[in-house]
């Protein structure tokens, strides 16, 4: 039985000649929390919008909870929570009015949570949404997305416009209420420290493709920088994720080597220095 919440196969999406998704394959299993990493223009938002049926695709197939994204069933829609990158809420309503409006659509709505979050995040109940700050709007969008306790949460850089305290609050809420319910989360961000707090898995995108997808802890342990002579590094070509950068007689490259093999390689190739990398450095070099 297929338990993948998201299933994308050979998906192609382009915008006036620019390829945003390039025969992309991606899957997200139920209960997984995946952080989607990628530089600006890598295709993260497009991927999410295609998954949700907000954008059409030119080729390939997508299934969201088993449904065609362009004809999502009511049940699937009820399971979804989505925070877009650019929140454009109904500016002519107040926050409680908008939440009340959306409440009518969902079979489940957690009033206690919405009220608590409105209080905790100090969102005015009487001010029109159009007059809220960008961060407040983002918080409100997050509240809206969490209020119906979705099984599948798709967050497109949800903390981008939040201050550090706001990000921490949001992540705490995410961990406490969403992840604890074994929900499936696809979470794009470029703030890696946030990702490390939340994500279990990480997927890195570059030029419309998924470069790699792995558990975060595993990737942290496997992300290394190799330094040595060019011929020696070429022996480990199978592990390399980037091209060799040659500085005189030495060369460096970023590689992903299973933790169990690293000690063995150190013994086999003493001329090669194997250094662990932070996820941020790893991301920068791999997606460069």
């Amino acid at each position: 039985m297929n338990t993948n919440i998201i299933e994308m196969q050979s998906v192609v999406k382009s915008f006036t000649g620019k390829l945003a998704l390039n025969r992309l394959d991606f899957s997200l299993a139920s209960g997984k929390i995946v952080g989607l990493l990628g530089r600006n223009g890598a295709g993260k938002s497009t991927l999410m919008e295609c998954v949700l049926g907000l954008r059409g695709i030119q080729a390939g197939t997508i299934a969201l909870c088993g449904d065609d994204p362009n004809a999502l069933s009511q049940a699937t829609r009820g399971r979804l929570g989505y925070v877009p990158q650019q929140t454009d809420l109904f500016g002519w309503m107040t926050a409680p009015q908008m939440l009340s409006f959306f409440k009518a659509f969902y079979p489940v709505w957690n009033d206690n949570k919405t009220n608590a979050l409105l209080d905790r995040w100090s969102i005015s109940r009487t001010t029109l949404i159009s007059r809220l700050s960008g961060g407040e709007k983002q918080r409100l969008a997050i509240i809206r997305a969490l209020a119906h306790e979705p099984d599948v949460l798709i967050l497109d850089e949800p903390v981008a416009s939040l201050d550090p305290a706001g990000r921490r609050d949001f992540l705490r809420e995410l961990v406490d209420s969403v992840i604890a319910r074994n929900a499936t989360v696809l979470f794009s961000t470029h703030i890696l420290t946030d990702l490390e707090r939340v994500a279990v898995d990480v997927a890195m995108m570059k030029s419309g493709k998924i470069l790699l997808q792995a558990e975060l802890d595993t990737l942290s342990a496997e992300a290394v920088r190799l330094t040595g002579t060019e011929p020696s590094l070429k022996k480990l070509q199978a592990y390399l994720l980037t091209n060799l950068v040659v500085h005189g007689v030495t060369a460096t490259a970023v590689a992903r080597i299973p933790a169990a093999e690293q000690a063995q390689l150190r013994v086999q190739h003493p001329e090669i220095t194997i250094e662990h990398m932070s996820l941020e450095d790893f991301f920068i070099e791999v997606t460069a």
Partner: protein
Amino acid sequence: MNAAVASDTVVRLGGRMMEMLSSMRVNYQVGHTLGLTWLRVYLGVAVLSVLIAILLWGTAASVINALTIVSVGILVVWWFQFVSAMYAMSTPQNMRLVPNLRRETVWLMSLAWVLTALLLVTFFFLVQWFFLAVFCMLAAASLPNQRQRFAATGFVSMVILCAAVWQGMAGTSLLGANFSAGLMLDHAVAGWAMMAGMLAVIGLVRVLPIVGLVLWLLWVGTMMFNTRIFGMVVLDPLQLVYTATSQTSLYLVSAAAFFCLLLVGMVGSATDRALSRRAEVTPSGWGVATWPWFGKVGWQWLPGFDYFLSRALGAPYDFGRLMQFTFGRMLHWSTLCWLAMLWLLLGGGFLFMLSVPDGDRGAMSMLFAIIFIPNAVLLPSALIRATYRVRAEHQMLSLTPRWPAPVSLNRQVAWHFAKYCMVATVLGMVMMAIFAIVYKIDVVIVGKFMLTMVATGVVLLAAVLRCHARMKSIDLGLVMAFWVTLIMLPNVLVTLTFSSSYSPGWFPPAAFLGITMLAAWRYRQFLRYPKSLPAGNAVD
């Protein structure tokens, strides 16, 4: 098919129609329960206008004028209300089946509404009865029991329809020559047609009603000074007993009252009240602080009484919210552009007319052309750009369960078409206003045509939106384009017939036809090349 099955089918159809037409009771969440507000507004306007008319002039004609103004306003607003409610009905959570509806009531109401629709089609001749019917329907809405409301409305509609048909056939009036003649005052119809078009759009934006009011005053002001900018002062086909000054003053006062009441009633705190009703808290006391539209804390006297009335009527509030919700910022843009255009036309045209000799209309037509042509290009462009700005709102909704559009694309297409339909209507009206001035076309014809355009545009919007909201495939959109054309055609033909004796009068309908065809073509293009839609789709 036996008789029982046929009967059952008819009853089912009637029930479905009732679902649509009983949408006075739907969707408090959107905040469009408007009936009470509108009823108050119109009754207020009616009473005020009649009182002013009696006090100032004391002539039957002025009273009739006041009634005419109110009636026409009711017609147009009722149509918008009806259409918005129809659209709301496509949202499943809004469906409130009429409980325990008796079969006879369904029959009666179905028949009444069909006849009413037929009457609307022919309202060129029977317009007065339609207004009266609408007035009575609104009055019937105040009955406490839903079944009573339907029965009363059906009964009244039937009586009025029969009377109207009889009057039309016999050429006589049931209520006296003055009453009938007053309701037939075409120049009042023409004036209010323009006003209604503006109101329908203006009422949705906070500040613009004030601009609209200024515009209205300017327009009336031109009539008061006998400048004949719309040729209205000289038009008095029925030779009633009133002066131009009294007539224009009546326009002035009643329009001001109308606008003020609109500001208070529609743009006020209706949404807040409608939304807060869901909290099931019954307001009470002598007064309560409210959330007003302009953001400052307000005060509402006797909220409990108001609450009681709103519950008793159970009719929609605040259709403005729904329309704004439906069309997004498009209306803001169109209103802005349209009003800017009217400002230029009225202000510039007025000043220019004062400065040029009567015979020198060529220069004036050039002025209008200079004003009009850039707007014809800029307005749609601005609207297209505005489309992108509401994309996120629609994205959010398309992922919401029970939202009417099964496919996000359909929603986008509907939205786009609504936009173009609106643009076509607006541009057509503006063009006619321009050419009415330039070529001295009979304002009666222009007014009738504008009324038709408004009504047709609204019906089209409703039909298309409903159709698209339910469509599962864009192929049906092509079918819809055909229906759109089909619906538009009789309207254009009727207008051409009416304008046949005025050679310059051919131009506005021809232009309108052109604009309509352009809109249909553009609509078809969107369907064929949907990748041009802002949110994309699955079949490009």
